[in-house]
Amino acid sequence: MEKSGSIDSLGSKRSSSRQPSVDSLSSSASTSRSDRSAQAKPPSAMSSDSVSTSTELSPELRVKPKTLSKKVPRDVDKEELQLLPNEKVHDMAQDVTYFCPFIGALRGTVMVTNYRLFFKCMDREPAFVLDLPLGVVSRVEKIGGASSRGDVSYGLVCKDMRNLRFAHKQMEDTLRKSIFEVLIKFAFPVSNGLQIFAFEYGQVFPVNGWKVYDAVSEYKRQGIPNESWRITKVNDHYEVCDTYPSTLAVPVNIPDEELKRVAAFRAKGRIPVLSWIHPESQATVARCSQPMVGVNGKRSKEDEKYLQAIMDANAQSHKLFIFDARPSVNAAANKMKGGGYESEDAYQNAELVFLDIHNIHVMRESLRKLKDVVYPNIEDSHWLSNLESTHWLEHIKLILAGALRIADKVESGKTSVVVHCSDGWDRTGQLTSLSMLMLDGYYRTIHGFEVLLEKEWLSFGHRFQLRIGHGDKNHTDADRSPVFIQFIDCVWQLTRQFPAAFEFNEYFLVTILDHLYSCLFGTFLCNSEQQRLKEEIPKRTVSLWSYINSQLEEFTNPLYVNYSNHVLFPVVSLRHLELWVGYYIRWNPRMRPQEPVHQRYKELLAKRSELQKRVDELQREVTNRSASSSSDQPGSPTRSITPVQTFV
């Protein structure tokens, strides 16, 4: 036995054997066979290399009340393909080999539906199952020609940090297509004139997630309109800016006509609008795109007046900070393309700060390097320097540091800030949403976080379709970039530093990322609100929030304490950031957590409500007794006991 292998495998074996505790005992064995990283939590709809997934993750089953007695039948189910509503099997092939990088070659059956690839290997006991939503597939490539043994081999590059390799015998009937040719058709429906599965998925959930966000009521929650800010419908038909939402909050003394002139000076017409307002100091976070300064240093009276109005809306400070997310070199280079940045001469009382965050291409490259370092093999002895060379954590740090500076200016400096990058839909969204997460405890609840995503990302036109490339076979598209993944990573870093400040748990974040790709829900389809409206996404698809909000207990952090008005200031030193192992390296069976944390969390939630119940009971009893024994006593202390609120 090789020295290096022995203990690692001990460890992994060990951990996999512990796995069952998550759901049921017998699933343990099955999990141990699979190469799913299988976080110690119920499998997500995506992390589905495992036997235990298929049943559990299909939402329709999940929503049903779970009973312990169902365990045994469920285990059987797990090895079978559970079709979602309107999911159809389109092809099936026997004798396909899956080369698992952790277990080795496995021989089994492949099924391709309009939603997923399902591989099952019955040779092993327990059966090995791989359940992969096709939306995850980024590229399918045929590796080599027909070999001497007549095998054809296909590689599937996935968007979620893994690569899969399959092989099967050369077709004898040359007219018959390989199953992987069929797969290509359904993996890239947009390129093949088909519909994304989200439009067919007919699941009905008890909660309608499309109702989660309403712009007007969110502004109302923030106290808008007020004496300095108003809500405008100038973009009602997306005429001022086709990538902005229809409802915008702007300074009260800027009429709609002037907004249009400001729009002419901002890239893509993305004028500065309010994202968040401090409930006390009235300091605001506003977002926009770069000004169209150009090489000649063009100026716009309207734009200058507009920013002055934003500053004036906050009586606490006579200064305005403009945060340009880009490195200053890049901002200057943008002048050649007509863009640029605000000059401090033109904008009185404004201070411009560059946050040095790199563009989407750098981020894409960084994640690619990270994938190389973590999948499938990890070089133990150089792990940290390899990780460093990807610069991934450094990028995370810069984003967090930028958001921290924004939050600090608003909270401690009581100063309004304007945030932009080039177009104001990538880095700007990261920065505004992260700073809002730090500033406003509402966004740290499950519902609030959904609102935050709907508002800062979806309604303000982060181009999900382009960045992710849903159903598009063009995997080299330069518009693809893990901007949103990076944001979720930053949120995870925050949850690590403030474990009790967030109502949601890690599984919530992983689930969001999984369904970012899965194309099961309509939430992340399209590039803008306008497109979503045109495609009738809310009518034709199911929202991810319907699924999540129908089973909140899966996503709730039991450690959560609702200190809604407290501001989080994370430590952004690289020394205090960590790689999100539970997401990026989850496919490696040797990385499975040792303790089923998710299970424990659930127990804790149950225990908490049990305690709460006991408090209530005791309180009732006390009230009764004291009422009977000393009813004439005013100010009995029983009344002064405040029941602790639960926010489960």
């Binding site: 036995m1 290096s4 512990r18 133990d380 940290l384 403030f498 200190y563 690289l574 499975r592 944390v597």
Partner: protein, 831 residues
């Protein structure tokens, strides 16, 4: 206010004899110990103080700033928060308050001026008034004090000079004066000599201690031998060692010569499956083996019943002490940073620099080796002997790690303390040399014990729910190592601890009880301070801190049967018969081998039966069998066998080892220890990371309160509710635990909360303070402290005088639990 810069405050100790004797019974002198709000140790002098100082709090302390007064005494730099709890005059002395730094643990003093920083030494003079004082500590803390503009300049300068002059620059001989400053007073000596030692742990000092351990492990066939009673057989071994029953002391005596330093194979622990774990030094090669010797050696090595012995060589794959020292010094340089030299590593090179220290590599290799040994032991029917050339460093690490992995008892606080006592203190780890307290032996310095603590922390962070001890405990132990005050660490072996009278006078005082038992003729040298064992935590930490050493509820048992189920389902046992009885194998680099010179007496051409039979046993065919066996354990090819039996298995095997994940990304970095320097941290935080009770804790408390109320109500006390007691928070910082995912319910913790109270809705109180600039002064838990202190003495636990005070309380709260109020819950009803 101070007038003269050099004024010192000497505590008056001129007390009448009778009074002193009386006081010494409780070990305290209540009136005179409070100097300007600082509760001095007996005999401790305040050399200098500075008012209006703010201390930067670390993340663990809740971050932010705390205002108060800074003191420098002979022994420590003390910080007393402005509105902290009033010291309880009758409490036992605590060496260091929550915010104090012992002078001996200071490594560097740096001041920050308007636009410069300067390293301050005992003869430097400052040309500017410092705004900030940064103490770099040997235990990797960085403590930062900020002077206010209102702090008198003289005070600032003087306290800086005083600290710089008084702290112990590492030089030989300074340790003794430090010890004297802390423990040297008559009162302190008396107090220490009256301390009862903790009976919940096994000290492994007497032969009955060892017998108790044998019994606990269910080890039969072994006996405690006192053959080394006078340290004549081996100077570094303890008085009592555990050897096979079959070997007589006279036979035993002959075997010492065959091992380096006379450290013969000794029993450490037995796995419940029947495997024994032994430790030994390397063989002495050039010695003639007599036939009788060989028989004894064989018996000793094979233990009592096993037919198979595996020698695990620890030298090759593990770091040497010198490696450990180098790695640790790099780690310190990296983590402490140092603003005075500005050599701190840029953030973007942090990861590769951390990798370059190799500290995590060494942690990994120790854990890996221990995992291998744990797997061997799990297999059953063999004896595993750890062999290291001198058996005093890495074998301590590995043997104790194996036990932490396999034995749930060792994951409790007391069990862990017993383990350290057994495998480190008594086994003769050279603490004194390795920690180099006297700074006189840099060559030998190597913090092997700290490496071990890091390994335990790795296990704890991967299996948070399986430990009863917490990382607060590990941290406390880590910090104590840097205080040259404890008998546990101030000697290299038991013999040195016992040889106190001959030593230079700084090393040893027998712990209480020994004197009479073992050394009737022992007369303590009155000039030396008696040194307490490190396990006397009450000397160092307040009750509040000590409460965090353990998780309030017992660790959860494993949630399902683990790998391999139990022995019956283990298909490997029969394979053991493949190998001949009496075989010895070497386990190294993950593989078994049978080198000819493994056991010198077998290869040295002795004669007779042994040689013959073992030559056959050593044949190479049997090796693969064994290797297969290990592989089988490691890869465990039979999970389905396991699952088929799970339903019926009943109680779980709690001895199933905790095998850590060892891949690069799985090795954690102990930030709470190494990155405690406040300089890295922001000064704000979420309130829950301060000492706020978690909602679950509040719930639990309410349950308790309501129960108490019910009890009262049932007594139909007419005064019900006429008086409400003050809020009492137990300061268990739940959040600290939750960081590890070990979330615990304090419901079972005896809160002793006696009275109903109006719990202020925490969210609303918080709302008032949370907006605007973060509170500059006290953490939110402050008020509760004040309530606790209350200005009202709560002394009924300690003296008869206050019994009368306590009585009305009893009358008021008739529930039985009230009579046993812990002192921390102390405000009397009158307050």
């Amino acid at each position: 206010m101070l007038t003269g810069s050099k004024t010192t405050f000497k505590v008056r100790q001129m007390l009448p004899d009778i009074k002193e004797r009386m006081l010494s019974q409780s070990g305290v002198n209540s009136r005179s110990r409070d100097v300007f709000g600082l509760r001095c140790l007996p005999g401790e002098c305040v050399l200098q103080r500075a008012v209006m100082v703010r201390k930067k709090l670390t993340a663990r302390e809740g971050r932010g700033w705390l205002s108060g007064t800074l003191f420098c005494t002979h022994f420590r730099v003390a910080f007393v928060p402005q509105d902290g709890p009033k010291p309880d005059d009758n409490a036992d002395p605590v060496l260091l308050g929550d915010h104090d730094v012992a002078l001996a643990s200071i490594e560097k003093v740096v001041v920050v001026g308007p636009n410069r920083t300067k390293l301050v030494t005992s003869n430097s003079s400052l040309k500017f008034t410092p705004e900030e004082l940064v103490l770099y500590c040997r235990d990797l803390r960085v403590v930062c004090f900020l002077f206010d503009r209102l702090t008198p300049d003289t005070q600032v300068l003087e306290i800086t000079y005083t600290i710089a002059k008084t702290y112990q620059p590492p030089k030989p001989g300074s340790v003794l004066s430090f010890q004297n400053a802390a423990l040297g007073s008559v009162e302190m000596k008396q107090f220490l000599s009256n301390r009862r030692r903790d009976t919940h742990m096994n000290w492994h000092e007497s032969s009955s201690d060892w017998e108790q351990e044998l019994e606990r492990c269910g080890a039969t066939g072994w006996r405690v031998s006192s053959v080394n009673d006078r340290f004549e057989m081996s100077t570094s071994l303890p008085r009592y060692i555990v050897v096979p029953q079959k070997v007589l002391d006279t036979e035993l005596k002959k075997s010492f010569a065959h091992f380096n330093e006379g450290r013969i194979p000794r029993w450490c622990w037995r796995h419940p499956r029947g495997c024994d774990l032994l430790r030994m030094a390397s063989f002495q090669n050039n010695i003639y083996h007599e036939k009788d010797d060989i028989r004894n050696l064989e018996t000793i090595l094979f233990g009592c019943q096993a037919s198979l012995c595996v020698v695990v060589e620890l030298g090759e794959e593990l770091p040497s002490p010198a490696d450990v020292q180098l790695a640790h010094s790099r780690l310190r340089a990296l983590c402490l940073g140092d603003i005075s030299t500005s050599v701190s590593v840029p953030d973007d090179k942090w990861l590769s620099t951390l990798e370059g220290t190799h500290w995590l590599d060494y942690t990994r290799s120790c854990l890996k080796k221990a995992s291998e040994v744990a797997c061997l032991l799990r297999g059953g029917h063999l004896t595993v002997a750890l062999q290291e050339p001198d058996d005093r460093d890495l074998s301590c690490v590995v043997s104790s790690l194996v036990q932490v992995m396999c034995d749930p008892h060792c994951r409790t606080q007391h069990g862990f303390q017993s383990l350290v006592q057994k495998e480190w203190v008594m086994a003769g780890h050279r603490f004194n040399s390795r920690l180099n307290y006297h700074r006189d032996n840099d060559k030998e310095e190597a913090p092997v014990f700290l490496l071990f603590l890091d390994c335990v922390w790795q296990l704890l962070s991967q299996y948070p729910a399986r430990f009863q001890l917490t990382d607060d405990f590990l941290l406390a132990l880590h910090d104590s190592v840097h205080l040259p005050l404890f008998s546990s660490f101030l000697a290299n072996c038991q013999r040195e601890r016992c040889k106190r009278s001959q030593s230079l006078g700084q090393s040893y005082t027998p712990v209480n009880g020994w004197r009479d038992m073992l050394h009737p003729d022992f007369s303590p040298d009155p000039s030396d301070p008696p040194l307490p064992p490190v396990w006397d935590w009450a000397l160092q930490y307040s009750k509040r801190r000590r409460d965090r050493f353990t998780q309030p509820v017992a660790p959860v048992p494993p949630l399902q049967p683990l790998l391999n189920g139990n022995l019956n389902t283990n298909p490997d046992t029969h394979r053991l018969t493949d190998t001949l009885p009496g075989s010895v194998f070497l386990f190294s680099r993950g593989a078994f081998s049978c080198p000819a010179n493994l056991v010198p007496w077998r290869s040295s051409g002795g004669s007779g039966v042994y040689r013959k039979s073992h030559r056959r046993a050593a044949s190479s065919e049997s090796v693969p069998g064994l290797e297969r066996l290990l592989k089988a354990w490691a890869l465990s090819e039979f999970p389905q066998g396991l699952t088929s039996t799970v339903g019926t298995q009943g109680p779980l095997d709690t001895y199933e080892p905790l095998l850590p994940l060892l891949m690069g990304p799985c090795m954690g970095f102990w930030r709470e220890c190494y990155l405690r320097g406040a300089l890295h941290a922001q000064a704000f935080s979420h309130p829950i990371s301060a000492n706020h009770p978690h909602p679950v804790e509040r719930l639990a408390r309410e349950v308790q309160q309501l129960k108490d109320k019910l009890a009262q109500a049932s007594q139909t006390d007419p005064h019900l509710g006429a008086k409400t007691a003050e809020p009492r928070w137990s300061d268990t910082n739940l959040n600290q635990n939750t960081n590890n995912g070990t979330f615990l319910f304090p419901a079972q913790r005896p809160h002793g909360t006696a009275a109903p109270r109006a719990a202020p809705p925490p969210t609303s109180t918080n709302r008032q303070t949370s907006r605007g600039p973060p509170p500059a002064s006290a953490p939110p838990s402050r008020p509760s402290y004040k309530d606790n202190g209350g200005g009202n003495k709560h002394t009924f636990l300690f003296g008869h005088s206050s019994a009368t005070e306590a009585r009305p309380e009893k009358r008021c709260y008739p529930t039985p639990s009230n009579a046993k109020l812990p002192k921390s819950n102390g405000p009397s009803i009158a307050s």
